[in-house]
Symmetry: C2
Subunit: 339 residues, 2 copies
């Protein structure tokens, strides 16, 4: 058996994403200790609960809910409604000329919804297991409803936390966009997963999940059904992927039991980031197969969590090669200590 592992004092290494073939740089010559990443003080939004439009949607003129979960006493615990400033909407067929000279455009027909949890001050990192499972439940319910629409071929589900991560309202919320085109990033992963399967007769995500489970060093937390780990080719410092251990291309087919297990791993992951980086801004999103009527047997749905630990500057924007300044092994070790 060959010597495993990458030496920790290497000042710069290129790591390849085995799914997409893309590269990242781990440049530890600029290194900080894991605890130094928490110093990047986040701009906290101290907006008042009284003026929060998610707290009192009826007062602030919000349109009708498309989904609402309530307690037995009739108190809402989660609600979903259309985004007030949608990036995609219905009925705008007449707006766009499909062609202009050599170019091509189409109307941004789709759905853009907001998924809001009850507590103004409690992020997902601090909710109970069943409360996080309820959020996943809402994602699934809206997904299953919207995928029926013939013009919807892809549904993006994401969560922005903190201003630097693009959250313009501090009340915890996720968003969902159901759109006619498939995400280019997802297409790279779909292509990569199929290509890997052709060459190796295995799902590349299953291979990763199993390898990480066996070696443990990049694992943040795992239970029977899900594993959270810092990917070998992390795009950002302290990035975490949450992945089902069982091969599964379609998030929307998740079972109740799996939702509870996924919620535990997601909550622990977010909580470890919260503690390790002192309440950083972050984004997470679900990568799942398109809903365009085709089968994607070799894809494997997962959640990617990207803490806002660096600014992507000219090199990253130019090349798509992200530079991270901490090894994922060190980041994972530190995150595990937070649990």
């Amino acid at each position: 058996m060959k010597e495993e592992g990458v030496k920790q004092n290497c000042s710069s290494e290129l790591r390849q994403d085995i799914i997409t073939g893309d590269w990242v740089v781990i440049a530890t010559g600029r290194a900080k200790r894991p605890e130094d990443f928490s110093k990047a003080e986040r701009i906290k939004d101290n907006s008042e609960i009284e003026s929060c439009i998610f707290e009192n949607p009826e007062k602030t003129g919000q349109v009708e809910d498309v989904l609402i979960y309530e307690t037995k006493e009739g108190e809402w615990t989660l609600r979903v409604f259309p985004n007030k400033y949608p990036a995609f909407t219905q009925n705008q067929n007449h707006c766009v000329s499909p062609e202009e000279g050599p170019y091509f455009a189409m109307p941004g027909i789709g759905f853009h919804e907001v998924i809001v949890t009850r507590d103004h001050y409690k992020s997902l990192a601090h909710l109970e297991n069943l409360e996080v499972a309820e959020v996943l439940d809402a994602y699934q319910e809206r997904y299953l409803d919207l995928m029926k629409n013939k013009k919807v071929n892809f549904i993006g589900i994401f969560h922005n936390y903190g201003k630097e991560a693009g959250a313009s309202i501090s009340h915890p919320h996720s968003q969902l966009m159901a759109i006619p085109v498939v995400s280019p990033y997802l297409e790279l992963e779909l292509y990569g997963a199929e290509n890997y399967f052709r060459q190796n007769r295995h799902c590349v995500y299953c291979v990763m999940a199993e390898y990480e489970h066996n070696t443990k060093k990049r694992v943040v937390f795992e239970n029977e059904n899900f594993i959270a780990f810092c990917p070998f080719a992390s795009r950002a410092a302290f990035e975490i992927w949450v992945m089902p251990k069982k091969h599964s291309p379609y998030f929307e087919r998740i079972t109740i039991e799996e939702k509870i297990k996924a919620a535990e791993v997601l909550q622990k992951s977010l909580n470890s980031i919260f503690k390790a980086l002192n309440d950083p801004a972050y984004n997470f999103y679900i990568h799942t197969s398109p809903c365009d009527g085709k089968d994607y047997p070799h894809f494997h749905w997962h959640i990617e969590i990207l803490p806002h630990t660096a600014t992507w500057a000219g090199f990253e924007l130019e090349t798509g090669i992200e530079i991270s300044t901490i090894q994922p092994e060190i980041a994972a070790e530190y995150l595990r200590k937070m649990l």
Copy 2:
């Protein structure tokens, strides 16, 4: 002749990048007037000239210059030296195990240099034409030198201006990374350009430059040799591309006359952004063919300028589909007024 142009009151449209096939969203339902974009107050760095390590590299322990331009009187006007915290360096063959389980890595062998202009307070937007040409001259000279290295297959040249755009030092400077792998973004463009040529027998960039020159509406500025325009499928509000009008795959083959013409268009573009957005942070970078010994006859080098007008949040990070809130036609019209 069909009706040209996209209606301006459309609240959301998907526009396709005809080079890569990627999509952007222009969501003007969230629209602001062009002048409103300038309100995003930039965090200005008021660092003192005395403590600037680029102002006095000899005092602050900077290593030796690899290139220096001087006046007849022996005063330096531009200098190039290795980055003190390099993302890529020489001689680290022993650091990285190339394999770990299913993964693959390689040493980050390469060069990472900084290109510094003389004036601490004057950005490229405010330099004279010949001073900007001198910067392009330095890019070219370093490119021609570094591309000789057998391990260098790609050279990224970029400029970060302002903290939000990743500039950690306020003294105006560009950077250059000469690395063993080709940028994934460039590969998408190379593939797209070749594919377009096979289908249409034309360079896709030449087609764009000619169409923009003829229709004028997205042009910011042009002269005999170069054109600056807001791309039809802009990734960011007020994005500008600067492109040679003559087909040319290799930046490093630019002539003296062309450098002066390119400098004029680049400077006017940056100056229009400076005025329109009230001194915003921005990145620009050069997309040119790899230097891996292969020919890229269908590529066409160009500069992309990305003002920091929005935060890429969960949806953009998840999908690679960027959302912009102003039509490039409106942005270009406003930028032209600044000249």
